[in-house]
Symmetry: D2
Subunit: 146 residues, 4 copies
């Protein structure tokens, strides 16, 4: 199985997560961290809906992107930062539910590029449904940390 | 040139935009509406940054998705609602700037599917720079409006 | 599990596959058909390489697209034809191997749109390696068959 | 405007193009080379159709990918090779026509990654129609050339 390449990976990931204004503003929290896999969660939030009352597709994407980016980060070296190169999201049904879970995982980790995939799961009255998926390319950038 | 297919398109678009919790929560406003083209704008907002202090890639995507979705909506019939099927975003450089403009435009409008493209422009000390692009597929859904 | 919606699905799929000039020209053949899942195969073919001697990324994509499209077709109604709306391919490593397998599967099947995913596996000295993935949106079109 | 970074760029591109088995097998030829822009062309070819008689979406993608990859190559340094990281293709209408033109252009050129976009134009009785588009991420790889 995959292993952390940086012994401080979990602590650094938690610190970086705390510094993401976007996560706290939207009520997204860390649910699980493992080598190559990060899970986030979020309750339904009427402040981030589109005009039919579902969660906005872009907000769902924001959470999947963060899950994928942090998953990539868990397998990077100590001096690397992660930036999103590109992603594609598919929306199979509207984002309806009481709460949401966002899973990001590394498909292939390279020195410069990491390929990841993510999915968004809606939880409603105990039932779970995957309603959106993502594939994302992440890039390791060195020399950003002051 | 493209024309509105619904005489109430602009009024309905403004009303739908107002009902998007996500737009007001993030400080995104309508800048321009034309047949097949919608432009949104947003000041830099520290509440929606990632951990390096740039605007979160997902937030930029949220704005581009809205610009593209509303652009598609301008060419749809009166009874149609628009839902995002999928999009892909490319990030050419980090989202740094004092303000941002998001342009969505229709590439091809069909009865069921509309192909759109979007771009995000950063404005900094009067200079403009396109730093992200999107291609998005939008779907017309009928029978949603009560 | 998924089921064929058309009792003639397998026979029609085989007939449509035979009519694809692209498949026979490239030496791609059907390996397996199940409801919502189609597998194709291809030997290494120097006639379809790029300039480093690997199989061309577009040829790999052609095979993944066909696997995904036919997978979508297995769950469609008798009168429907399938057209590709869009796809995204990721290439994790070059297409090197003696033979290749292409798996397409339905993630969500709808009346109009079907979401699929695919992957390309290289086979080399008995070892298998997934080197490319796809997500594709397929559309059911009615009234095309004469 | 963009400039070639390698004085031998055009000669090397032509040599690399000649070595692409896929291009000659499919009848795709070079139409134009400029810094950051490459155009390919192809007559309708029944050997590469799908089962409705249109050109296969994957073949159209193969040509757009080559146009984008070579466009990226024109702005790379002498020692760099180009590999496709990922691309997304949208198909707005079926690939019907007597001949096709494929345009690839660089949107942003970086040391490691180059963002490109492409489009496919069908030519039929003198009329032109853009029927497919691509966005592609290309990577410069050093040390591949023997």
């Amino acid at each position: 199985m995959a292993q952390f390449r940086n012994p401080d990976a979990v602590a650094r990931l938690r610190a970086d997560f705390e510094r993401q204004g976007a996560m706290s503003s939207m009520g997204i929290t860390l649910a699980d961290i493992a080598p190559g896999q990060v899970t986030l969660q979020m309750p339904f939030n009427p402040a981030f809906t589109q005009h039919h009352g579902y969660m906005h597709a872009g907000i769902i994407t924001t959470a999947m992107d963060s899950a994928c980016g942090f998953a990539a980060f868990t397998l990077m070296e100590a001096e690397a930062e992660v930036l999103t190169v590109e992603f594609k999201s598919n929306f199979m049904s509207p984002a309806a539910g009481e709460a949401f879970r966002f899973e990001g995982e590394v498909v292939k980790s390279g020195r410069t590029l990491t390929f990841t995939q993510g999915r968004a799961v809606a939880i409603s009255e105990g039932a779970e449904k995957t309603f959106a998926t993502m594939t994302a390319t992440m890039m390791a950038v060195r020399g950003m940390r002051g």
